[in-house]
């Protein structure tokens, strides 16, 4: 690696406190891995169920370091012209037409394959940026295994090879976060290049704090109850357990309804905010009301 390594964080504690100020409550694992990623200059692969704050982690880290967030949303069928770079062929065509007959071919060739005609896509943009950036490659499990290979060069060496131009190296090593909902096993090659962080549903205590931090004016008592009910629901055998964002939605709804303590009726009536499948709602409603 040629570029100078910048150390963004001083200690694990600093990362945790910094994130806390931004209302992102990191546990030991999250703060530790973020710190390590900075020190080792390695990308972080964040895996876990949907709605546990994986994407938010990257956003918060960007905010914490005052960096710009460059985001690549992955989907099936993503290719290098969408992820890395593309030649602006319309402009190139115009250039050829305008110059017809005048320049020699070699000159023209060198000309149309220059920076001016290059369209940068997120990956290249993150590499070539002058200002500090955080690169977020979101839902990497959605691309096919073959497309994953596109990412390997940038993840291990922070460089992009463009056949016509040569290799472009990073001016600075950006913090890179990859998120995955674990819908498929990622390739060994990709995993080997990353630090691995599993973000699970938070513990009850942490969830209560998240609710307290994110929902203004909520009472401690209500936040505590919410966290307990959500934990209870997560322990059931459901198709899709409630995520943290759904917990927050629920908390906000209860606030809007001016509810101070949750009883069975209220819980049952508002279950559809936490759960999105009819079978899950029916099951949870049944279990919440049944005596042991």
């Amino acid at each position: 690696m040629t570029s100078e390594q910048v150390q963004r964080f001083e200690s694990v504690q600093m990362v945790r406190d910094g994130l806390r100020d931004l209302d992102y409550l990191a546990d030991d694992g999250i703060a530790g891995v973020a710190y390590l990623a900075d020190r080792l200059g390695k990308p972080v692969l964040v895996e876990g169920p949907a709605g546990t704050g994986k994407t938010q982690l990257a956003k918060s880290i960007a905010e914490l370091t005052g960096a710009r967030l460059v985001r690549l949303q992955c989907y099936e069928g993503l290719d290098e012209s969408k992820a890395l770079f593309e030649w602006n062929y319309k402009k190139q065509l115009l250039r050829i037409q305008a110059d017809r007959g005048s320049d020699s071919w070699t000159e023209l060739h060198d000309d149309i394959f220059s920076d001016e005609f290059l369209l940068t896509r997120p990956l290249l943009e993150a590499i070539t940026a002058d200002d500090p950036v955080v690169l977020l490659i979101d839902e990497v499990d959605r691309v096919e295994v073959e497309t994953e290979a596109l990412l390997l060069e940038i993840l291990s060496d922070y460089q992009v090879s463009i056949p016509e131009l040569g290799t472009i190296e990073a001016k600075q090593i950006p913090l890179v976060f990859l998120t995955s909902n674990n819908t498929r096993e990622l390739s060994e090659a990709l995993k080997r290049r990353c630090l691995y962080l599993h973000v699970d549903y938070p513990s009850m205590e942490r969830e209560r704090e998240i609710v307290l931090a994110k929902v203004p004016d909520i009472t401690e008592n209500l936040a505590d109850q919410i966290a307990r009910v959500v934990r209870s629901i997560r322990s059931m055998d459901l198709k899709k357990a409630p995520s943290v964002s759904e917990t927050l939605d629920w908390a906000r709804t209860l606030m809007l309804l001016n509810i101070e303590t949750i009883d069975e009726e209220i819980a049952k009536e508002t279950l559809h905010i936490l759960l999105k499948y009819q079978t899950d709602i029916a099951k949870a409603a049944k279990e919440l009301s049944v005596d042991e």
């Binding site: 390695k42 692969l45 190139q92 096993e185 060994e188 691995y196 209870s232 009883d263 009301s289």
Partner: protein, 489 residues
């Protein structure tokens, strides 16, 4: 960190990685190097951070976390700061000192009973009472101290005795009667509260208590492990505590917990299976002209579109037929099979599932009509008409009926998966059905949950059927199922 210290650290880490590899966790060379780099930045004194740093660089699969954690606790237990100077006999003394200190802290921060005296002097009843109080208040420090005390008192651990940790755990917990404790706590909580609590409140309270009791159990377990390691050494302990990785758990002998995690692991696997079967067809035919790509490539020829580019057609979803034995001899496997079928039907648009014992019935609709897998399995087990004569497996008859009723639906696009141990109770094999099926279908695969060495022994006639299929695969655990899916490519 001085040079010698650093070398010591690297040796230590090398040993640790060796242990991980022996437990079957894949740790590559680069990951090992990363870990070495990582520990330079995270001090070992911060145990939690140290653990996460190692995990982040060494473990790339959440399913491996528990194995990692156990090995970590064992391997780094004696080397924690409090044991740094201890050698042999001194270790116990240090232990007692700490217990004493913790206990004093506990009684100060506790309920003000103050001067509870040494824990050693308490009667078992007092211990039980203290434990209940600490559990109800969620007093972590006291719970830890009590866990130590309980192990010391009840486990009856003797140096050098070749007994596993579970034995000591059982002895300790039996003396504490934690199951009864939960009821007592619920009772006490009901007495304390002013207003009668609703069922919801009761449920939440019970869960909170269960959670704390589980924490306490984990603490007891950790304490036993610490003592065992002190007695026998880390390397020996790491071996005895080793449990099979989730992908090595046998379907036939999986416990409830293991079945649960198997189910989670199945989801991505079936997606892969779907992708594999779909991809084969992707390259067969070319789609319509891709204008953007054609123009982009025309630049290599000075703007002349000399090389037309085509879009790939959308991969067609393959058709799949799953025929599974759900008889008693493969009961455990059958449960798994049904989970697999359920997961597969989410991935394939055209999947039809059949189950048989000696009769055969189509169960596609059971899986389609509900989103709840337990209900679907329940319906299959109770409603499907799979018994013809006596409810003992008869592959021959089942296949014959299958071919007669559904044979016309098997076409050149169909892949047929046959699942079972082929233990036919000495009935006629009717292997010609499989032969004809293989002639018509795109592929016929057989997955057998029995170890390969049992095949074709006794009444197993898997070879007779297997001859006609595209392959018979041993499928006893996730790893084997995964390698089957890989081979499809």
């Amino acid at each position: 960190m001085s040079a010698t210290e650093q070398r010591g650290m690297l040796d230590l880490l090398g040993g640790f990685v060796g242990q991980l590899r022996e437990a079957g966790l894949p740790v590559s060379l680069t990951e090992n190097l990363d870990a070495m780099e990582a520990v330079r930045h995270i001090p070992i004194e911060d145990r939690e951070a140290f653990k996460y740093a190692l995990a982040a660089s060494l473990i790339k699969n959440q399913a491996h976390w528990r194995t990692f954690e156990t090995i970590f606790e064992v391997y780094f237990s004696l080397r924690g700061p409090e044991y740094a100077l201890d050698r042999d006999g001194e270790a116990t003394e240090g232990d007692l000192d700490e217990l004493w200190r913790e206990m004093q802290d506990a009684s100060q921060s506790g309920d003000g009973r103050g001067g509870a005296g040494s824990l050693d002097a308490l009667t078992p009843e007092e211990i039980a009472h203290l434990l209940m109080q600490s559990l109800m208040q969620g007093d972590q420090a006291l719970m830890r101290a009590l866990a130590r005390q309980a192990v010391q008192r009840f486990a009856g651990m003797e140096p050098g005795r070749p007994v596993g940790g579970t034995y000591y755990l059982y002895r300790t917990l039996r003396n504490l009667d934690l199951d009864g404790m939960l009821d007592k706590m619920m009772e006490a909580a009901a007495q304390q509260s002013v207003a009668p609590s609703t069922t919801l409140e009761q449920r939440l309270e019970r869960e909170e208590f269960e959670h704390r009791i589980a924490e306490f159990k984990a603490e007891v377990e950790a304490e036993i492990r610490r003592r065992l390691v002190a007695d026998r050494g880390a390397e020996a302990m790491a071996k005895t505590l080793r449990k099979p990785l989730p992908e090595d758990v046998e379907f036939m002998h999986a416990s409830r917990d293991e079945m649960q995690s198997l189910r989670k692991a199945l989801q991505p696997l079936t997606r892969k299976l779907a992708a594999r079967l779909a991809r084969k067809r992707k390259h067969q035919r070319r789609g319509p002209l891709d204008f953007r790509s054609t123009v982009r490539h025309s630049l290599s020829y000075g703007g002349v579109p000399a090389e037309p580019k085509f879009k790939f057609p959308r991969p067609a979803k393959p058709e799949l037929m799953v025929v599974a034995d759900i008889s008693g001899s493969v009961a455990a496997f059958a449960r798994f099979t049904l989970m697999l079928v359920y997961a597969i039907s989410g991935q394939f648009s055209k999947v039809r599932s059949f189950v048989f014992i000696d009769g055969i019935d189509e169960v596609t609709d059971y899986f389609k009509s509900t989103e709840d897998i337990t209900e679907a399995i329940h319906r299959v087990n109770t409603e499907a008409d799979v018994v013809w004569v006596d409810g003992h497996s008869d592959y021959g008859h089942a296949f014959e009926v299958f071919w007669e009723r559904y044979g016309k639906d098997v076409g050149p696009k169909t892949t047929v998966l046959l699942l079972g141990d082929a233990r036919n109770n000495y009935h006629a094999s009717q292997a010609w059905v499989v032969k004809e099926m293989a002639g018509v279908a795109r592929h016929v695969y057989w997955l057998n949950p029995e170890p390969r060495s049992y095949w074709n022994t006794g009444d197993s006639i898997v070879g007779e059927y297997g001859r006609h299929t595209d392959g018979v695969y041993e499928c006893r655990n996730l790893r084997q199922l995964e390698s089957f899916v890989e081979k499809l490519a």
